[in-house]
C-alpha cells in the first residue's frame, strides 16, 4: 500500500520547488540548514500577502479578480480576507475542509497571478486547472440551519455561564478588512 503514489498537495509542491531552488542558489547553505527554509518563511515568495494588501487597499479590484475563481474558492477568499474569519469558522460553514483552506487560498492566489499575467489564456494554465480540480463538487445544495445561544449580544454576562466564550469570536491575524491590525 505504501508504494501507491498519492498526488502531491499544493503545500508539498511548493516546499519541493522551494528546496530545489534553494539548492540551486547555494548548495552549501541549503544543506547546512542554518535557518528556516520553508516556503512560508520567505516573505518575498508569499503572494498571499499581496492579496491581503489588495483587499485592504483596493477592494473593488480584489472583488473583480476573485470573481474569476470558482464559487467555493470565492467563499474562502471573501470570508478570510474581507471579513477576518478564521479557517475554523469558515470550516464550520463549509464542512469537511478543515486542513485544506490554506491549499484553496494558495491555489486561488496562483490562479489570480495567472489571470493577471495572461488574461483569458490563464484558464488553460496548470495553476488554474489545479484550482478547478480542487474546487470541484464543493457546493452544498441543502441550507444549513444554525441556532446560536441566547446569551449572544447580552450586555451583562456571567463569566461562569457555559456559553460565555462564544460571545468572543477570534479573528485572523490580519483581522477584517477595515481593522488594519
Amino acid at each position: 500500500m505504501d508504494d501507491i503514489q498519492k498526488p502531491q498537495s499544493a503545500y508539498e509542491m511548493n516546499s519541493e520547488s522551494r528546496a530545489v531552488e534553494l539548492f540551486a542558489r547555494d548548495p552549501e547553505a541549503s544543506l547546512a540548514g542554518r535557518s528556516l527554509l520553508s516556503f512560508e518563511t520567505d516573505a518575498t515568495l508569499d503572494r498571499s500577502l499581496a492579496i491581503a494588501n489588495l483587499a485592504v487597499e483596493n477592494p473593488a479590484r480584489f472583488l473583480e479578480l476573485v470573481s474569476y475563481l470558482p464559487h467555493s474558492i470565492q467563499d474562502i477568499f471573501f470570508q478570510y480576507y474581507l471579513l477576518g474569519r478564521t479557517y475554523k469558522q469558515i470550516a464550520r460553514l463549509m464542512g469537511g475542509w478543515n486542513g485544506s483552506f490554506w491549499e484553496g487560498i494558495s491555489l486561488g492566489t496562483e490562479a489570480i497571478c495567472e489571470i493577471l499575467a495572461n488574461g483569458d489564456a490563464a484558464i488553460a494554465s496548470d495553476a488554474y486547472q489545479k484550482m478547478l480540480k480542487f474546487a470541484a463538487n464543493r457546493d452544498h445544495p441543502k441550507p444549513l440551519t444554525i441556532k446560536e445561544p441566547e446569551i449572544l449580544g447580552s450586555f451583562s454576562i456571567s463569566i461562569t455561564h457555559e456559553e460565555f466564550e462564544q460571545c468572543f469570536a477570534p479573528m485572523t491575524t490580519d483581522g477584517p478588512i477595515g481593522k488594519g491590525c
Binding site: P59, H71, S72, Q74, D75, F78, Q79, L82, L83, G84, R85, Q89, R92, L93, M94, R138, D139, H140, P143, L144, T145, I146, K147, E148, P149, E150, L152, G153, S154, F155, S156, I157, S158, I159, T160, F164, E165, Q166, C167, F168, A169, P170, M171, G175, P176, I177, G178, K179, G180, C181
Partner: protein, 190 residues
C-alpha cells in the same frame, strides 16, 4: 458589555481600576483573556469588568473610554492583570500604586455603553439587512426573514451554501438601507 462573577452586590460603590491595553487591535480577544484570568485566579471572588464598546463593525471595535474598567474587593488583586498578553496592567502611579477610579465615573461609562449597544440593532425588522456581530458567524451579513420574540432568523447566502442563523436580535448590527443589489454576505460599507 459588563462581565461579572461571584456576588457582585459586595462591590457596590467600590472603586474600579483602569486597565490599560497594549494596542487597539484585538481588544475583544484581550477581554476574553482577562475574563479567563479572573475566572481562574480570583476563584469565585466578586469581579466586574466593564468593556465599554461604542461601535463594532468591519472597522473593528471602538471603545467609549481608552481603558477597560475592572474591580474586585481588593484592587491589589488586579495587579496580576499585567501578566496577560495584550494588557499593560492597571493604571498606577510612578511607585506602582494602583490609581482608583470612582464608581460614579464607571456608572456613567456603563450607561453610555448600554445606550450604544441598544443602537446597533435598533429598527431591525423582517427584510432588514444586518451584520452578525457575535458568535462563530460573526461579520457575515444577511437578510432577516423572521423575528420571533427577541430572536431573529437571518438568511446568509454564501456562494456555495445558504445559512439560516437563529440569533438574538441584539447580536445584530442594522446596516440600514443597503440597496438589494448590493446585499452580499461580505458587504463592505462605503
Amino acid at each position: 458589555m459588563l462581565i461579572q462573577q461571584g456576588r457582585v452586590s459586595l462591590l457596590t460603590n467600590l472603586p474600579w481600576v483602569a486597565v490599560e491595553l497594549v494596542s487597539e487591535a484585538r481588544i475583544e480577544e484581550v477581554t476574553l483573556h482577562i475574563s479567563r484570568w479572573a475566572k481562574s485566579r480570583l476563584s469565585g471572588e466578586p469581579f466586574q469588568l466593564l468593556f465599554p464598546v461604542k461601535s463594532k463593525d468591519l472597522s473593528g471595535v471602538e471603545l467609549i473610554s481608552p481603558y477597560l474598567l475592572a474591580r474586585s474587593r481588593k484592587l491589589e488583586d488586579l495587579k496580576g492583570l499585567g501578566s496577560i498578553y495584550g494588557v499593560v496592567g492597571p493604571l498606577s502611579d510612578a511607585k506602582g500604586k494602583i490609581l482608583p477610579i470612582e464608581d460614579e465615573f464607571a456608572r456613567n461609562v456603563k450607561v453610555q455603553a448600554e445606550a450604544e449597544a441598544e443602537k446597533w440593532s435598533a429598527g431591525i425588522q423582517e427584510t432588514s439587512f444586518v451584520r452578525i456581530l457575535f458568535g462563530p458567524e460573526h461579520m457575515l451579513c444577511g437578510e432577516v426573514i423572521k423575528i420571533k420574540g427577541k430572536v431573529a432568523e437571518v438568511l446568509v447566502v454564501l456562494r456555495t451554501r445558504k445559512l439560516k442563523v437563529r440569533i438574538p436580535v441584539r447580536a445584530l448590527l442594522n446596516l440600514g438601507n443597503v440597496p438589494k443589489d448590493e446585499r452580499e454576505y461580505f458587504y463592505l460599507p462605503k
